[in-house]
Symmetry: none
Subunit: 203 residues, 4 copies
DNA sequence: AATGAATGAGCCTTCATTCAT
DNA sequence: AATGAATGAAGGCTCATTCAT
């Protein structure tokens, strides 16, 4: 008897397997067979559900990004004050769910692939824009618009930089250290900007 | 036309071709034939001089990193004061010679490959250590050791982050903006630390 | 036409094709494509089922040797007296099934390859040991142990020698002549040893 | 200043190198570069002197066979009586100069190649005929013509068989044992035939 | 729903061979 | 006399993809 409603289960299993495989291998240079075996199915079935390897990989990347976005959404929902919202965004980037060796490695592998694949580039761009928007939005309530933009860019760069630097480390990722680094930048910069604003206002 | 002593010329041409090919393609997934054709030779000759594809790619990465290191060496040689030396390190990272789309893309592609290739990981690690050493050295003359380490990490992360973020941009890389961002972090942080030191000393 | 359960059929077809190709070519220097074409499949399929060329060739050699061993087993089963058993072993070596130009040529080609491949050497050694064991066993019932060993070695050498000598002959192999040669050695030697034994016993 | 008279030296060095390389490798599947390196020259020079790989290999084989023939010639020259001449032929086949692992391995490799190369087959045939002629000639003075032919074939088969069987042994070749085996055949057979002849004559 | 069977296309690599010096 | 430079041709192997069951 044919099993019904297998599709969503298989798709999910294949996406997870793809992320695992790519993460473990450190590159998208994994074969469909490897991914399928991890998911406990045949390579033919992976094609059946995803059409082509690229489609599966795109789905995998979309999955990573949407999980990140979802977590960010939740965290922002619980934060009220702008400063808290900034911390929320930062902490989600390094949360236990995302800042794991396999995810980091997969993220980097997909990132590079985006250089070639417009579809993947688009996915990343959407995510980047949302991150930027979240940051700028909160920052504008604390500093001048121009400074807000600059700071958002700096924070995003630091996050990406910390990711990529962790990708090559053999030790377990240090989420606390990463968060501290970004938070320190934020604190210092905010203190500085606030002081300057006060000083300017005095004139 | 002389036919002897071609080896260094061919090696160099092939390394350049490899960087170009990888940079343009956005991944190390280029064929030896493509690289060889770019260098104007046969694929067999590339193997003759480099043994295997991996060896050629490693040489290409080593080339990129050693150029970077060399430029940094020169720049540091001309800078005396610690603050100037920091600026030198930063500006070299985004100099016209290095911060070009093809080099950025190639750098990222090699970076990812380092996740798989221990040899490449070693190359990157050597470079990273040298960069870190340069930064920490200069920073220690300006701030406390612990702060110096933290700031070096932050700067390195920002640099790598700015690289990776530029890799996906279709517009020409904005070296000035990148430098400004890192310099701003540096200025702000140094001002803050200096002020705190003065305040502490007062006690 | 059924499409399932093709594996054993394909494996067998590929092994046969390999033996044919090697035999016809007179060396293991045949391409996978040639073998595959003979079997009516693609080279990729040959790799799919055998992994690598070496594995296919080993399987082919194992096939030849196991057929020989199987025939010997049957022949020995039907022979009771020691002298008959010796004739059985000899005649199997030159039976119509084994002593054909293609098999002879393939056998020789594999034999040489065994100089390089430990796996093939092992296969041959197993077969040689079994042949020797069969011969010695029967001979010990007819002559002294030391003589039995010597005669076994001589017979084995003659068989191998007749094989190799036939490999280069363009005429169809002369099985009867080969058998007659070995049998003559056997008869003469047995007569001689028997006579000597009788003579010794008289003392 | 160009060296004069290098040609014979180089040719000889290359032939020796080829035999060594083939013998060590256990197959003619050695590259021209390997052979040339052994001879201390460039691959290009090997081509210069021999034209093609096949030509060099043929020369190497011819060298092995002619050394054998030469040794046999000398040994026969010193032996007068037919029985001694037979022993001479046998002992030369297993002389220290010829019955060495490398030579045995090379001989076998060339032997197989002769299955493919008519030129090599011709070389072997010439040698085989000469060996046969020597054996038959001496044997005819001891036994009937038909028996002489048969015995010559048996002896040749045993010699070849002992060669090929030694090719796969990892222990140093046992020349004495090999000689003893063939001599024993000879003695036994001669005794037998002589006795029969005497018996027949009596009638 | 799922898979074994099968292949075309492509890549890395090796190597004999040629040529200019 | 000798070699470095260079390549065309070919082979082993992998893999995404398709198809019939």
């Amino acid at each position: 008897m044919p099993k019904l409603g297998m599709e969503p289960l298989r798709r999910r299993a294949l996406i997870d397997a793809a992320i695992d495989a790519v993460g473990e291998h450190g590159s998208i240079d994994v074969t469909m067979s490897q991914i399928a075996r991890r998911a406990g199915v045949s390579a033919a079935l992976a094609h059946h559900y995803f059409g082509a390897k690229d489609d599966l990989l795109q789905s995998a990347m979309r999955h990573i990004l949407s999980e990140l976005a979802e977590d960010a959404g939740k965290a922002l929902h619980e934060a009220d004050a702008p400063r808290q919202r900034l911390s929320a965004v930062i902490s989600v980037s390094f949360s236990q769910a995302q800042f794991r060796p396999q995810i980091i490695a997969a993220w980097l592998a997909f990132y590079v692939e985006a250089q070639r694949s417009p579809a993947m580039r688009r996915l990343l761009r959407v995510y980047a824009r949302r991150l930027n928007s979240n940051l700028v939005h909160a920052l504008r309530q604390l500093v001048e618009p121009a400074t807000a933009s600059q700071m958002a860019e700096a924070i995003a760069a630091m996050i990406d930089g910390l990711y990529i630097r962790h990708a090559l480390k053999e030790v377990p990722p240090d989420a606390q250290g990463a968060i501290a680094l970004v938070e320190d930048y934020l604190d210092t910069k905010l203190a500085h900007e606030t002081a300057r604003a006060r000083y300017s206002a005095r004139d």
